[in-house]
């Protein structure tokens, strides 16, 4: 109701110009001007291009702050970077989670309001331009035009008018003619679609906002991650299927850069349907509206073996932990029972010229770890003298203790998945197409308007009226000139 009222108000404003030129009803029209109320002012303010400029500028500065200040980091990190006082101020301003702060959301909401209101105004103007173009000009219009062509000796008035009309039609112009005793006026235009360009682009932007909100609406979509080791099965709570990680493969080039990583999964849905598919970066699984992306990978389980003094090999495995020591049981025979302790995991093990241990890369291509052994398992806490440092172990380098040789064979990798359902995505793509269409129509297509006066005498004056674009009308001017002079 209010919107309709406001639209009505805008219409009153739009028609005010023509009313003001009529002295009889001028006085009556002045009443609403004097009573310009707060809603009217608010509409004008919120729908203005100036407002858009401010909102876009503030958004740019806000996003710059969000780019320079790393988002959602531990508070200690901010304190060490910015100091306690500045961190406090930034925290109050929600700078550390800027894109979800109330003021950023308010900013985006204001942009939406500006888009909606300005598009109302825009549509009104476009429709007016499209359908209600007067052929008659204000006195002096042709005389004061910045650039124009004038032809004299153009034959008879009717003949010249006909030639002008034909040449415009030949140039695919839409022609409107008005004949008056003193002259024949033409107003012709072409490329009317360009008029809608900015309207379409802004509708596309609005749709983009709607799509983003729709995708984040409670109950519509979800986003979660899952870490799986080979053999694990994961059921997505919000969906009707589960998937089992059959195999995870990773390959690296000579420079230790990942060349490929791929998960082979078997999907089983509640109806009993099952199928196997490989998931790679750029090739997600897309099933029943849920997408599973290959997001990450890393060390999941450390696999090794030890050879006892009798020459018998025993495998061991231990779940990888980034910041804790990892334990496994060692039974080297003769009823002995030790605890193996792995610490300082090195993903790409190397030994420097001075015996220093390091990692060539972050990729687990040549894993190594430092091994310690707890030889008495009955003491808690263990006596430090019963903790033996054994040494570094890798696949090709063993360390031994009391004739038992330990090897670290490989690391089985976990596969990290990003699981997502966003019903807004299709709408987002549609909005992209609409925005690109709008931008193209606005900037690369031109609505050309040409006004022509054919006066008895006989002279023809033509003016291209697109602002700052007179040079774009040379083809039209030449065509009109030729058609008139040819006659």
């Amino acid at each position: 109701m209010q919107i309709r009222e406001l639209i009505g108000r805008r219409r009153v404003q739009a028609s005010r110009t023509s009313i003001e030129s009529n002295p009889v009803i001028k006085d009556a029209a002045q009443a609403p001007t004097a009573n310009k109320d707060i809603l009217d002012t608010l509409w004008t303010f919120l729908s203005s291009v100036r407002m858009a400029i401010w909102l876009l500028s503030i958004s740019a500065v806000a996003i710059l702050a969000g780019t320079l200040v790393e988002q959602n980091q531990p508070m200690e990190k901010y304190v060490s970077t910015y100091g306690a006082t500045l961190t406090h101020i930034m925290q109050v301003m929600n700078v550390f989670d800027l894109y979800r702060s109330w003021w950023f959301e308010l900013l985006m909401s204001l942009i939406c309001v500006n888009l909606i209101l300005s598009n109302f105004n825009r549509a009104e103007k476009i429709i007016k331009k499209y359908y209600h173009v007067p052929a008659r000009m204000q006195p002096g219009y042709f005389e004061n035009a910045p650039e124009k062509i004038s032809c004299t000796d153009a034959g008879s008035l009717n003949e010249a008018a006909l030639n002008v009309e034909n040449s415009l039609l030949k140039l695919k112009y839409r022609v409107k003619k008005e004949v008056s005793p003193e002259a024949t006026y033409f107003i012709a235009d072409r490329g009317q679609m360009a008029l809608w360009g900015s309207f379409v682009a802004h509708i596309g932007l609005l749709l983009l906002f709607v799509a983003v909100i729709y995708g984040h609406f409670p109950g519509q979509g979800f986003e979660r991650s899952a870490i799986l080791l080979e053999g694990d099965t994961y059921r997505i709570p919000e969906s009707h299927f589960s998937f089992h990680l059959d195999k995870f493969e990773a390959e690296w080039d000579e420079s230790r850069r990942p060349r490929l990583y791929r998960s082979t999964v078997t999907v089983t849905d509640d109806n009993g349907k099952t199928f196997t598919q490989a998931i790679e970066v750029n090739h997600p699984l897309n099933y029943r509206g849920v997408k599973a992306y290959q997001a990450t990978y890393g060390p999941g389980r450390i696999l090794g073996h030890y050879v006892d003094p009798q020459g018998i090999s025993h495998p061991f495995s231990v779940d990888y932990s980034e910041d804790r020591m990892m334990f496994f049981t060692v039974e080297p025979g003769k009823g002995k029972r030790w605890v193996g302790v792995l610490k300082n995991f090195i993903p790409d093990f190397t030994v420097g010229p001075h015996g220093e241990v390091g990692s060539l890369s972050k990729e687990p291509v040549h894993p190594g770890s430092f091994l310690m052994l707890l030889t008495r398992t009955d003491q808690m806490p263990p006596d430090p003298k019963n903790i033996q440092s054994v040494g570094w172990i890798t696949a090709d380098h063993a360390s031994s203790f009391q004739g038992v040789k330990f090897y670290l064979d490989k690391v089985s990798l976990f596969s990290g998945f990003q699981l997502r359902k966003d019903p807004g995505v299709k709408l987002i793509y549609i909005s992209f197409i609409i925005i690109l269409l709008g931008v193209s129509l606005t900037f690369y297509f031109h609505h050309k308007v040409i006004r022509i006066k054919v006066s008895p005498g006989v002279s023809v004056t033509a003016v291209g009226v697109r602002r700052d674009k007179e040079q774009d009308y040379q083809e039209e001017f030449n065509q009109i000139r030729r058609s008139v002079e040819g006659a």
């Binding site: 996003i63 990942p258 490929l260």
Partner: protein, 284 residues
Amino acid sequence: MTTIMHHLLTIIFVGYCLSAVFYFAFIFNQNEQLTQMGKGVLILTFLLHSVFLFLRIKADHDFMGYWYAPVANIFEHVTSFSWGLTLVYLITETRTRFRALGIMVIPIIVLLVGWALKLDQSIVPPPPALQSYWINIHVPMSLGAYGAFTIAFGMAIFYFLKKGEEKSGKASTGILSLVPTTVMLDKLMYKTVIIGFGFLTALIMLGAVWAEESWGKYWSWDPKETAALITWLVYAVYLHGRFSWGSKKRDTMAVLCLVGFLAVIFTYLGVGFLLPGLHSYLKN
């Protein structure tokens, strides 16, 4: 092969330097022949640069077994971008006959190719995230966008030089006599910006579609994404300003072209090298 390619790139670098010398000589002697020679050398170097890129694409194909645009690492992107910038410049100069613009733009091309010479030129497999046909669609858009904005930047610099001269009321002398009026420069800047803006809009949107396919999220507020969005916003302010103010605030428009170019540099280099994020392929 790598050595031959390096020599070829060195010749291209020398070619661009020579072209820059001709354009700079134009400052001291406004003989049109100088820029014609500069443009001639520029066209020849550009053709050689095209051959270089073709050979690189071929070498990438032989190594990886499939075709892709040579934009998969920093070396390839810098050589492709300098090629794109030369192309955009040649089109602009041919269409506008604004030859003095070369003084602003060609040194940037020289810097880019000189930088490329210092970079590791070996062919390496693109990281898995870049192994997608989207690389051929998304990344080349950046050549058009950044190229056009660099040209607009050059025009904005000339705008202020010309403005100073027009303000002083003296008759144009030297190189500025061959620079269009501030009114015309304002129009040229607008025409260049709208080309860049179209490319940038497509760049961001195609990037979002690729991100949805690759990372599982069309928008992650990743520094590269946000920096590109900042650039888009700056030029959106420019376009709204021009619509609102017409040609009344030409100075503000030119300032926005300078700010926009800073945003381009921030997006292209600052984010890739300084800030962590999903787009940090440059560090490879």
